[in-house]
C-alpha cells in the first residue's frame, strides 16, 4: 500500500464528494484484498465519476480495485499495489427491465438477492444461484464468474449476458454487446470482463436475458457407497432424455455440509450423494421422479428419495453456498475450482484424495456434473504445520490436473493469504496463452492500475 498524497485525496474528494471518500480503518479493512489494504475508499455516484477517478488514478499511477459486497475479495493473487478501493455500491439500480422481452439492464452494485426478488415479481429469474448470495452484488458475481449449480441447464454468465458498459483503466467509458438476445455487432469485449476480477475495467452496467420461473420443481437425492457408482448414475442421466436443472455430486465430506436436519438423517455419512433438481410442468417433474428412480436402481444406489419442499430449499441453498460454508467451517481451507470432463471425474476424485492424504489434509468435493468441481482441502493439524501442508500440496493439485489423461483446468479460489506468495500459487504454472491475456490487459489498462497482480500470470 502506497499512501496517496494529500493532493490526491483532495482531488478524489472533488470528484465524488468528501462524504463519499472514506479513510476510516474499518472501511479500509473491509476492502482488503488478500491482506493488502487500500489507502482510501471512494464511492462514486455513476459511470462518469468512475471515469474521472480512473483518469486521475491513471495519471498518478494509483492502483484501483473495484469492490461491491466485499464477499469475494479473497479470490485471486495478492495485488502488487492497491491505493484506492472503488466501491460501486451506490450504482445499485435496475436501469431497464422489459419482462415482456425477457431482458434486463442492471448496475453492478445491486445485490443479487434484491435483483432476484425483483424478477420474481414478474415470475422470472436469473440462473445465478451463487455463493454469498445475501451480500454479493452483480458486479462481483460477474467479475468473479461465480459458479452456479444452475449452469447445468442455463449456462454460465457468458451464455446469458448480452452486453456491458464499463470504464477502462484509462478512464474511458465504453461498451460492447447490447440488450438484444442475439447480436454479433462488434467484438464481444464484455466476455473478457467475466471472471477478470476487476483487472480490465470497472463494470457499470450489465445486460442479461432473464428466464421464466418454472411452474414446479422437484429435487431428488440418490446415495452411493462409491464415487464410481455416483458418477455412473450421472452418466446414465446424461445419456437419458432427461435434462435436469441441477446435477451435483457431494462426497461424504461435502455431504456433511450440504445436508442438515432431517435430510442428513437419511444420508449415510460415508456415502456419495447425487442431488438432482428438475423443473417444468407438474407432469414433467413426475416423469423425473419415475425415471430417476429407475436409473438410480440400475446404478445400484443405496438409497433414492425425493425431498420435500422445505428440505429442498435448504439443500439447494447449501449447495449454492458451498464455498462459504466450507470457509466458515474451516477458515484455513484451500478451495480449488476445477473444470474437468465428466468421464474423468472418478479418476480426478481418486487423485485429489491421494494428494490430500499424502499431505495430511482432508478433502471435500462438490462436483457439478456439467464439469465444475469445488475441492476444499482442509488441514487436520494446527498452524503453522497446517499451512506448510497446504503449501506443499497446492502445486501437486495443479500437477494432477495437468496430467494428460485428466486435462483439467484448476484455479485456487480460496486459501489463507500467507500461502499466496506468487500468482502461480493461485493460477497454476504459466501457460502459452497468458501472453495473449497480457496483451488484452494492456489494451484495456495500459497504465496497469486496475488490480495489478491479482490475475493469472501476474497480470
Amino acid at each position: 500500500m502506497s499512501r496517496p498524497s494529500h493532493a490526491s485525496l483532495t482531488r478524489i474528494e472533488e470528484i465524488a464528494g468528501a462524504e463519499n471518500v472514506l479513510t476510516d480503518s474499518a472501511g479500509i479493512a473491509a476492502r482488503a484484498v488478500c491482506g493488502v489494504r487500500p489507502a482510501i475508499v471512494v464511492r462514486p455516484a455513476d459511470g462518469s465519476q468512475i471515469a474521472e477517478v480512473l483518469r486521475f488514478a491513471a495519471s498518478e499511477k494509483l492502483a484501483v480495485i473495484p469492490t461491491g459486497g466485499c464477499t469475494k475479495l479473497g479470490i485471486g493473487s495478492p495485488p502488487s499495489r492497491y491505493d484506492i478501493a472503488l466501491d460501486v455500491s451506490r450504482l445499485n439500480s435496475v436501469l431497464a427491465y422489459d419482462p415482456k422481452d425477457l431482458t434486463l439492464g442492471v448496475e453492478p452494485g445491486m445485490r443479487i438477492a434484491d435483483l432476484l426478488s425483483r424478477l420474481a415479481e414478474q415470475k422470472q429469474f436469473l440462473p445465478l444461484a451463487v455463493p454469498f448470495s445475501e451480500r454479493a452484488t452483480i458486479g462481483g458475481v460477474v467479475a468473479a464468474n461465480s459458479s452456479s449449480p444452475l449452469r447445468h441447464a442455463y449456462g454460465a454468465v457468458r451464455d446469458f449476458c448480452l452486453g456491458m458498459e464499463f470504464v477502462t483503466g484509462e478512464g474511458a467509458q465504453a461498451k460492447s454487446g447490447g440488450r438484444v438476445v442475439k447480436n454479433v455487432t462488434g467484438y464481444d469485449l464484455h466476455k473478457l470482463l467475466i471472471g477478470s476480477l476487476g483487472t480490465l475495467a470497472v463494470i457499470t452496467r450489465v445486460n442479461f436475458r432473464t428466464f421464466p420461473l418454472p411452474q414446479a420443481q422437484g429435487t431428488f437425492v440418490a446415495s452411493f457407497p462409491t464415487p464410481e457408482g455416483a458418477f455412473e448414475f450421472c452418466r446414465s442421466v446424461a445419456h437419458s432424455a432427461l435434462t435436469p436443472q441441477i446435477v451435483e455430486v457431494a462426497d461424504p465430506g461435502a455431504g456433511q455440509l450440504i445436508f442438515s436436519g432431517e435430510a442428513s438423517a437419511r444420508i449415510m455419512p460415508e456415502h456419495w450423494s447425487v442431488v438432482i433438481s428438475a423443473a417444468g410442468q407438474h407432469a414433467v417433474v413426475d416423469r423425473y421422479s419415475r425415471e430417476l428412480g429407475r436409473l438410480a436402481e440400475a446404478a445400484k444406489a443405496a438409497e433414492f428419495h425425493p425431498i420435500d419442499e422445505v428440505a429442498q430449499s435448504s439443500i439447494l441453498a447449501r449447495i449454492r453456498e458451498f464455498p462459504r460454508l466450507a470457509l466458515e467451517a474451516v477458515p484455513d481451507a484451500a478451495i480449488f475450482r476445477i473444470s474437468a470432463l465428466p468421464a474423468s471425474m472418478p479418476s480426478l476424485m481418486a487423485k485429489l484424495g491421494a494428494v490430500a492424504k499424502q499431505n495430511y489434509v482432508e478433502v471435500a468435493t462438490l462436483t457439478r456434473a456439467s464439469g465444475i468441481v469445488y475441492a476444499a482441502f482442509v488441514p487436520t493439524g494446527e498452524r503453522p504445520v497446517s499451512v506448510v501442508c497446504l503449501t506443499t500440496m497446492i502445486p501437486e493439485v495443479f500437477d494432477v490436473c495437468a496430467q494428460p489423461e485428466l486435462q483439467a483446468s484448476a484455479m485456487l479460489e480460496w486459501c489463507p493469504s500467507e500461502i499466496k506468495t506468487s500468482a502461480d500459487v493461485v493460477w497454476g504454472p504459466s501457460r502459452p496463452d497468458f501472453e495473449l491475456m497480457r496483451r488484452v490487459k494492456n489494451s484495456f489498462d495500459p497504465q496497469n492500475i486496475l488490480a495489478p497482480g491479482r490475475f493469472a500470470g501476474g497480470i
Binding site: L102, A172, V184, K191, R287, S409, F444
Partner: protein
C-alpha cells in the same frame, strides 16, 4: 515481387494448392453478400503448420491474409478487400475426434456444419448451431461469424458451443486457448475470438460441444391473414414465457416464392406463417404445443397445423432454409439484412419495413428468426439497374437505423464484415471503437489479417457504402 510470393507459395504447398490465374481467382472474389474484392492468390493449406508457414510468408511480403471457408458469409467477411492471399480451409476438413462420453468433438475449420451433425447422428447427438447454409458452410466460418440459425433460440449461437480453439496468430505463432473443459482459468479469450470475423487470428482447430437429441419434437405451422396478428403472436409467446426451440416467420410474398419452388404445402393466399418447433421431454412438448396453439388462435391464426411425420416436418424446414434460394427464381438479386430488435418491437418494425418498401418502390420479403427478434428483410433488385440499386442501399440503411432506434443492433448473426463496418458508429461511440481497435491491434498489430472488416475505416460516419455492382447471385443464408 508478387510473382516471387506465388513461387514461394508453390514451393511451400505444391502446385495443386495455389491458384493465381485470373479465371480461378474470380471464383473467390465474392461470397454470399453483395460485396466484391479480388485476391492476388488463393491457397489451400492441409495443416496448421501450412497455415503458420503461409502467414510467415505473407508477413515477409507484407501481404494481407483473409481466411475463408465455403464463402457463404453474408457480410463480405471472407472477401479480400485489399487483395493479398485468401486462405481457403476446405482441405482441412477432418473431424479429428468425437468424444461421446464428454459430448465434445474436435474438428478442423473446413468441416461442413451439417457433416458434423451427420457424423454423430448414430449417437443421437448433434451440433446445435444450424445456419440455413449448414449444408455448405464450415465450422471455421461459424466460429468467425458466431453463426446462429433457427434453433439457436433454444440452444444458443456458436459461441455457446465452442470450448477450445487452436489459433495461428498474425505473426505465425500457434497457440491453443481453452480445451474440452467447460471453462479454463484466465480471461475468456475464446469468447473474444468467436465472432471476431477472422480479424484477430486464424482458427485451425475447434473443440465444440455436442448436444443430445431431444426425445420429442413437434413442429407447428400457424397461418395468418394479417402481419400484425402474426407478430403479436410472437410477442405473446415470449411474454407467456413459452420457450420454443425455434420460432420462424415467413411473410406471404416469400411464402409464395418458396411454395412454388419447394411444394411444402404452405398456403399461398395468407399474409404470413409462423413455423414453430418445440422440443424436449414428451410431456413438456405436449403442453407447450398446446399452449402455443392457443396463443396463435387467440391472435386469429386461421389455421394451426402440426407436422404429422418427419417427412412433413423436413419439408416445412426445407421451405424455410431454402427460401433465399427460392428468391432467385423471382428476382435476379437480393440484398439481405440482419437487423435485430427487442422482441416486443416486432409489430411496429414490420409495419416500418412495409412503409420503407412503399417509399422506395421496392419489393421486400420477410423471412426470419422471429423468436429472437432477428430480422432478415430481403430487398429484391436487378443489379443492371443502377438507379434501383441506389434505392436498395438507401432502404437497407433506413431499416438498419430503425433497428438501432428501437434499441436493437446492426447484425444478429451475419456479421459486420465490410458491409456494415461504416455503420458501427450508429451503435458505438468513438471510445467504444477505439478500445475495439486496440484489442484488434493487440492480436493483429500490422492490420494484415482480414483488413477493412468489422471496424470503420474512417469514412463518413453512418453512411452505408454503395458496393460494387455485384457479379454473382447470392447463395442461401
Amino acid at each position: 515481387m508478387q510473382t516471387q510470393l506465388i513461387s514461394e507459395l508453390l514451393a511451400l504447398l505444391g502446385p495443386t494448392a495455389v491458384l493465381s490465374s485470373r479465371e480461378d481467382l474470380m471464383l473467390y472474389e465474392y461470397d454470399g453478400s453483395v460485396e466484391l474484392g479480388s485476391p492476388r492468390c488463393v491457397v489451400f493449406p492441409s495443416s496448421t503448420q501450412d497455415v503458420a508457414a503461409i502467414v510467415r510468408l505473407a508477413n515477409r511480403y507484407e501481404t494481407p491474409i483473409v481466411g475463408r471457408g465455403s464463402g457463404t458469409g453474408l457480410s463480405g467477411g471472407a472477401i479480400a478487400r485489399n487483395g493479398g492471399i485468401v486462405i481457403v480451409f476446405s482441405r482441412m476438413n477432418r473431424i479429428l475426434q468425437i468424444d461421446e462420453a464428454n459430448l465434445r468433438a474436435v474438428v478442423q475449420p473446413g468441416v461442413v456444419n451439417l457433416d458434423l451433425s451427420r457424423a454423430v447422428e448414430h449417437l443421437k447427438l448433434f451440433f446445435a448451431p444450424d445456419p440455413s447454409s449448414q449444408k455448405a458452410c464450415t465450422i471455421g466460418g461459424n466460429v468467425s461469424e458466431n453463426s446462429g440459425g433457427p434453433h439457436t433460440l433454444a440452444y444458443g449461437v456458436t459461441t455457446n458451443h465452442v470450448t477450445g480453439l487452436e489459433l495461428v496468430l498474425p505473426d505465425g505463432e500457434i497457440v491453443r486457448i481453452g480445451g474440452k473443459n467447460i471453462e479454463t482459468s484466465g480471461y475468456d479469450l475464446g469468447g473474444l475470438m468467436v465472432g471476431s470475423e477472422g480479424t484477430l487470428a486464424l482458427v485451425t482447430e475447434i473443440t465444440v460441444r455436442l448436444m443430445r437429441k431431444p426425445e420429442a419434437v413437434k413442429t407447428l405451422l400457424a397461418v395468418y391473414d394479417t402481419l400484425d396478428d402474426t407478430t403479436e403472436s410472437v410477442v405473446d409467446i415470449t411474454v407467456r414465457a413459452i420457450t420454443p426451440a425455434a420460432c420462424e416467420m415467413l411473410d406471404g410474398f416469400t411464402l409464395r416464392a418458396v411454395e412454388d419452388y419447394v411444394h411444402a404445402g404452405f398456403p399461398k393466399d395468407c399474409a404470413a406463417v409462423l413455423l414453430i418447433e418445440v422440443e424436449g421431454l414428451m410431456e413438456a412438448v405436449q403442453a407447450q404445443a398446446a399452449e402455443i396453439s392457443e396463443v396463435c388462435r387467440e391472435h386469429r391464426a386461421r389455421e394451426v397445423r402440426e407436422a404429422r411425420s418427419d417427412q412433413e416436418r423436413n419439408l416445412l424446414w426445407r421451405g424455410r432454409k431454402e427460401a433465399f434460394g427460392a428468391m432467385g427464381r423471382i428476382s435476379p438479386m437480393y440484398y439481405v439484412q440482419d437487423g435485430v430488435i427487442p422482441r416486443t418491437r416486432l409489430p411496429e418494425t414490420l409495419r416500418r419495413i412495409e412503409e420503407i418498401s412503399i417509399k422506395y418502390n421496392l419489393q421486400i420479403g420477410n423471412i426470419f428468426h422471429a423468436g429472437d427478434g432477428n430480422l432478415h428483410p430481403l430487398i429484391l433488385f436487378d443489379e443492371r439497374d443502377r438507379e434501383q440499386f441506389a434505392r436498395v442501399v438507401a432502404a437497407g440503411g433506413e431499416i438498419m437505423r430503425h433497428c438501432v432506434e428501437v434499441g436493437g443492433a446492426l447484425t444478429g448473426e451475419h456479421g459486420i464484415g465490410m458491409e456494415k463496418n461504416e455503420l458501427m458508429p450508429l451503435i458505438f461511440t468513438p471510445d467504444d471503437l477505439a478500445l475495439m481497435e486496440r484489442v484488434r491491434a493487440a492480436f493483429n498489430p500490422a492490420g494484415r489479417l482480414n483488413p477493412g472488416k468489422v471496424l470503420p475505416m474512417g469514412k463518413a460516419c453512418g453512411e452505408i457504402r454503395v458496393p460494387h455492382v455485384p457479379a454473382a447471385a447470392a447463395i442461401s443464408t
